[in-house]
């Protein structure tokens, strides 16, 4: 496949790079891991297969060979040869097809999974692109015009396509997009550095995502929060979803490309199951923090994982059956 127009920031991502944070090598990985896994799931692929994380304005893709694709996450009105195609559903496309993204409707990132195995760079156990060090994914960088991504294996689906330029598969995921604005959190290790009043403000006010919002973190605008402790923290680990209080009294939420360690007070931590919702927010969106318990947060992780695994098994079976019947 070939990139025929460059997008603003389209990279290869998977579930992230773990095991090397002690060397300062950060995790990276998809901003909306639920949608990233869903795209793989619907094609019956392994949950951790590398996908393209696409921002708007998006790249334009030319499929030189026929394949099956699935797009999830934000709705950028995807089209194949100018015909709208659905999200959350596998679509077979003929050779010489052009995939475009017309308009940003909802969300801020979409995920493109390809049925064929692609020739990509695995670095330190992950395909996720590490932009800082120029490693992993596709040449360690975002996709540029004229990039060619090779498929490892061929796929003959001409009987299935039967002269049509694309075919939408019969199965899909329903009601998978969660656009809530109330994001659940657990208290951070420096939560008690905030006075009771400030803790209330944190939970009662709406915070706006500023223009300083990217894969590394979202800076928020809201009431200035004061810290009653001025002790300097020495650096220790931070993670995706850590909410830090900056010296100016504003908050930053660390996202997928966060540093491995930091020294600002960690007042809260977004629950893992809600990181994907946050990953679809964009500048000017407003959010509110809602406290929850560790027990509830864990339950949500487990049920999300269960949902994806069950769907993956079902889709893998359906895919085999469908391809067998049509080829």
């Amino acid at each position: 496949m070939r990139i025929t127009r460059q997008g603003v920031l389209d990279t290869v991502q998977d579930l992230g790079r773990y095991g090397y944070q002690y060397l300062g090598i950060n995790c990276n990985g998809a901003m909306d891991k639920f949608s990233m896994q869903l795209a793989n799931t619907l094609l019956g692929k392994d949950l951790n297969s590398p996908v393209f994380e696409i921002h708007f304005p998006a790249s334009q893709f030319l499929f030189e060979k026929e394949t099956i694709i699935c797009i999830t996450g934000g709705d950028f009105l995807p089209t194949i040869n100018d015909h709208a195609i659905p999200l959350d559903r596998p679509v077979a496309v003929c050779k010489k097809s052009i995939l475009k993204f017309e308009k940003l409707q909802t969300g801020s990132r979409c995920y493109l999974s390809i049925f064929n195995e692609m020739k990509l760079d695995k670095w330190m156990n992950s395909y996720s692109t590490n932009l800082k060090s120029g490693t992993g994914g596709f040449m360690g960088r975002n996709l540029l015009k004229n990039d060619v991504i090779l498929f490892q294996n061929g796929l003959n689906i001409s009987t299935l396509l039967h002269e049509r330029d694309h075919v939408v598969f019969p199965w899909k995921a329903n009601d998978v997009v969660d656009t809530r604005n109330e994001i659940e959190f657990l208290i951070g290790s420096e939560w008690h550095w905030l006075t009771r009043d400030v803790q209330d403000t944190f939970q009662e006010h709406w915070f706006q995502i500023t223009n300083e919002a990217d894969r590394m973190g979202y800076q928020l605008a809201g009431p200035t929060l004061e810290c009653r402790n001025s002790e300097q923290l020495i650096s220790s680990a931070v993670s995706f979803g850590t909410v830090q209080l900056l010296p100016n009294g504003q908050l930053i939420i660390l996202m997928a490309d966060h540093q491995t360690a930091g020294g600002y007070p960690r007042v809260a931590q977004i629950i893992s199951a809600h990181l994907s919702i946050l990953g679809q927010k964009k500048p000017n969106d407003v959010i509110k923090f809602k406290m929850t318990s560790l027990v509830e947060a864990e339950k949500k992780i487990v049920s999300q994982k269960k949902y994806l695994l069950q769907l993956q098994i079902a889709c893998k079976f359906k895919m085999e059956e469908f391809l067998h019947a049509h080829l």
């Binding site: 090598i25 490693t135 951070g188 220790s236």
Partner: protein, 237 residues
């Protein structure tokens, strides 16, 4: 882990926890952190996803779905496993730390903040170089960037606050922030006061081990001229 070191464990969200030995920089505590880190790394418990040692803490990322059972939270389950290790006297073989002699060119061309440090701390540039090169530094931890080292502690005479606004620094830039010193592995915005640059590559993405320094290593700097710097870069590093 011979002598008992008081610690506290707190959750870092729902998928990681931090074992904290206090908000202090100490060689002894850092050594304990690294002993525990190497031990857990060697044990290779399937429940553990990642281990992140810092100055005086060890953060453990764990697999919630794998550990979760109805009667107990994953957090409680992993805490029990870790407390078991923490309560034992781990007679660990001393991890063989490496020692590095790193060349640094402290010239005006590379030490862009040398004048600032000289004025702030009433030292001549020669004195700063003499002080910075006279000590063996401990690599306490890595973070911020792939391969970025937090080393310490520099003599209090050359200690200086970081910059209010980060500026772009080249790979190999050697900086000071408070009592810490470190080398930027990649071009990056940086807030540390830059006193020189090393021609030694501390990060090579093509290597199997892309990072030169590991936590616990010892580093000593020695001063080189601009000509020597160019020679290093041209061929032999």
């Amino acid at each position: 882990m011979n002598a008992y070191q008081p610690y506290s464990i707190f959750p870092l969200g729902d998928s990681a926890l931090t074992i904290d030995f206090g908000n202090i920089i100490s060689k002894d505590i850092n050594k304990k952190v690294l002993q525990l880190f190497h031990h857990l790394k060697a044990v290779a418990d399937k429940n553990i996803v990642d281990l992140v040692p810092a100055y005086s803490s060890l953060t453990v990322y764990y697999d919630v779905a794998f550990l979760h059972h109805s009667e107990k939270t994953a957090f409680d389950a992993i805490t029990e496993i870790l407390e078991e290790w923490l309560s034992r006297t781990l007679n660990l073989p001393e991890k063989q730390n490496k020692h590095f002699d790193i060349p640094v060119c402290y010239s005006k061309k590379f030490g862009i903040d040398m004048n600032h440090l000289s004025e702030q701390n009433y030292l001549t540039i020669e004195e700063i170089i003499q002080i910075h090169t006279s000590k063996i530094y401990k690599v306490y931890m890595l973070g911020f960037l792939p391969g970025f080292t937090y080393m310490g502690e520099v003599d209090h005479r050359i200690s200086i606050e970081r910059k209010p606004v980060p500026v772009k620094v080249p790979p190999g830039a050697v900086g000071i922030a408070g009592r810490q010193t470190g080398i930027y592995p990649l071009e990056s915005p940086g807030g540390w006061q830059i006193i020189g640059r090393t021609p030694t590559k501390v990060f090579r993405k093509e290597n199997k081990c892309p990072v030169l320094f590991y936590p616990g290593d010892d580093v000593k700097f020695h001063s080189i001229s601009e000509d020597e710097f160019e020679n290093y870069q041209a061929g032999r590093t």
